[in-house]
Symmetry: C3
Subunit: 337 residues, 3 copies
């Protein structure tokens, strides 16, 4: 795959070299995302940010990433009012909308819809999430965060040990992350979930075929004892027959500071795709972790901007021109990160 | 009418010279819309894109057109949450909102509302559609497309032969197009519709008074046999007493590749205001036309951007400065059109 | 308080010097808001315009103010689709969203929510209204308008005489304005309302403690006879036991041209926070005042842009660099103000 002009639809597109290239460009985006410098490399370009399903953080993250490269954003949110709702085909929608911008990010509730849209688009399309199918920029930002966090303690993706907790059956983000980890054959994965919410067998099989060591368990404490990363996810009430049963499971997979201190090695990094639930009995990551420097959940969302800047830079083929179009910041930025 | 500072509310404002001026400016916008060059002639200007009735394509088309000239877009969509819903007059809304931008595009469900708003506005207002009344930029983009399509085969608007199909009674776009065609006295028009959905008599009369040759019919095949343009529109179920009756009519006015090959001259161009229905039994233009090079429906929407750029350029009086504020594109644009 | 990097949450933050500094910067913003010049001092900066409760005018006013300084705006409106609705804490929302922009404006229906959000934000937060609690930019634009209007007739805030009419019990804007007026100890205030809708006693007390002269009344005519400013507000039907009772009160506090001529001194300025009701029997300011040059209600909303530009300029510490990054306007602006 040559990035220039390509659609980014699925992590299955990527070989290891592609991922390393994205991460290298993301690194170079740091000074701009952190407002040490301003770049205008995409000044005059337009992003069509089409969210046919609501999302605040992914939508704003993509939009800000494009603005940070100097481009403009035209945005559509919601579904009821669109031509699609009046019976228009995705083919027509794509032919029309791709005449209005230089690149499109699309989220849509139906699996496969973004790929169908991309096939008819005249400009590159980035998948912002199509139902339970794919959300490639989330998987990339997770892996990018893992790489950076373990590097801070001298580790690499090649020697990674990671535990994933919670609803591994329905969680789109952990599925995508597992597939992406298959590019790194020496990774060790602990999958920790209620029996009812185990990781789909074909994904476990795919990891084992790729050479990864995978252990499944429903015991939290032992699973998080010797890992670099604990990746926690939501356990949703609606997956169980009663709220009481859900509460029981949530209680068993909850991480807080005392569990962390008792069972994790020092420097074990905590991640989560967010949002985390803050309601009583529904928390999977307690607030008392907020001051733990190894809580990386907000570094994840910050990294999302870098990774999305990198994707835009690569598909629009300006990744190497960013610095050339840059200058200093002239407004207040102290205390930003 | 001098364009600078004017409202664009109705096609009734235009004499032939105005239309020719708009089209000439639209032609000059080509390199910028097609990303061969970038212009920043409106850098620092703000468009208030006020859509009090939902519309994805018209809203995004106007917004992108303004961005392509270098300006910024502040957008409002929906109605429930506005001050108008709390009893504010259009006068007050216009006085307030016109303090926030340099030009306003407004869509509103009520006929005449945009003109009422414009009367109180302190900046130029472009009508983005006011109920069943007017949608002047659509009529202009249709006529601009017709001009370009017939020119490709050596024709001109002065010798145009056009057939309009479908719901001619309620279709706002064909009404406006007919009125605009009155500026070109030698045009020949075939109006093809179910009897229940004939073009309003006063519009037929207006065309005949202007010198146009108008034939009404409910027979598709003979009507499309000797025309340059076939302009198809939707037949909507709710116009008939039953779905069965609607399906019957839709069947009779449906265009597909075999009807086209059997009845149309080579190079007959197919147009449609979009969206076209893609649902079974509701299609007015079949998907098998998608590879027909004379299907101009996406060239229409692309032209919409050019025409809207031209309108902005003219009312803000920068049409002649566009090139002066331009430069080369530095991102990937291959395969765009 | 040093403005650079500060949150703007409440008018209680301001001493007299702060207000004077904001007004002085707002004055300097005039040429840019009126399109005599363009400044790009915030070129490359991003505003997160987060409206978790709908508002057209405040949202667009903040957004346009930021665009007028050269910055980009990423916007979120509505609530249902946000992570907050899925149980996310304001702490998490703030940590995440503050990674996407350089400054955030937030409106939220819950009192105190914006301050809670600001406590976790990594960038400055401006309160765009938190329920019935605070809306500091509205209070500032009101006071800025008062200052300018009285200055046009040789007056100052130190010798101001003002009457406030209508629902003084629930009106957030008059509460905030009264608190801000406490910085000017010689102001004379007439509070005119139905008995049921009197100004809360603690605010009256606060003004008297600050040295202001305060008179409460339910008689319109005598109260507006010797003031510089009449500040009218809405009387809402839902505050009364019946529509008839509401109409009775609304009738008694309605201002129109004949009441104005009969009872006000020449040059008495009429203000209103808008929207004003235009429905029969619900009007508090009649349309026949629209040609009265002392009707300042649209100068208020225009001033809102200046004050918001000033706030952005101060918290991002570019207030003194605006001119340095400026140039001439090249598009049509005649007749704008």
């Amino acid at each position: 795959m040559d990035f220039a002009g390509s659609h980014i639809l699925s992590i299955a597109q990527f070989e290891r070299g592609h991922v390393e290239r994205i991460f290298s460009v993301a690194d170079a985006m740091g000074p701009y995302a952190q407002r040490k410098r301003v770049t205008k490399v995409l000044d005059g370009a337009i992003l069509g940010n089409m969210f046919f399903e609501p999302s605040t953080r992914t939508r704003v993250s993509f939009g800000s990433a494009f603005n940070l490269l100097g481009g403009e954003v035209r945005e559509t949110t919601g579904f009821e009012s669109t031509a699609i709702a009046k019976g228009e085909s995705l083919y027509d929608t794509a032919r029309v909308l791709s005449g209005y911008s230089d690149v499109i990010v699309m989220r849509h509730p139906a699996e496969g819809s973004v790929a169908e849209f991309a096939a008819a688009s005249r400009v590159p399309v980035l998948n912002g999430g199509d139902g339970s199918n794919e959300h490639p920029s989330q998987a990339l930002l997770d892996l990018y965060t893992i790489k950076n966090e373990v590097a801070a303690h001298g580790g690499t993706l090649d020697t990674l040990r990671i535990a994933m907790l919670g609803d591994l059956r329905y969680g789109r983000t952990v599925h995508s992350l597992c597939k992406l980890l298959c590019l790194f054959s020496r990774v060790e994965v602990q999958l920790v979930s209620p029996l009812e919410l185990r990781m789909p067998a074909e994904i476990v099989e795919q990891m084992r075929t790729a050479g990864l060591k995978v252990v499944e368990s429903d015991q939290l404490e032992e699973s998080i004892a010797r890992v670099d990363i604990v990746y926690s996810t939501r356990i949703q009430e609606e997956r169980f027959s009663s709220r009481e049963e859900a509460d029981l499971y949530r209680g068993r997979f909850r991480l807080n500071q005392s569990v962390y201190t008792a069972h994790c090695q020092p420097n074990t990094v905590i991640m989560h795709p967010l949002p985390r639930d803050s309601r009583d009995n529904a928390r999977e990551l307690d607030d008392d972790l907020n001051d733990n420097p190894n809580l990386a959940i907000f570094r994840q969302t910050d990294n999302g901007v870098l990774v999305r800047m990198a994707l835009f830079g690569l598909v629009l083929d300006v990744a190497d021109q960013v610095e050339k179009h840059s200058r200093e910041v002239n407004w207040y930025t102290a205390g930003r990160f």
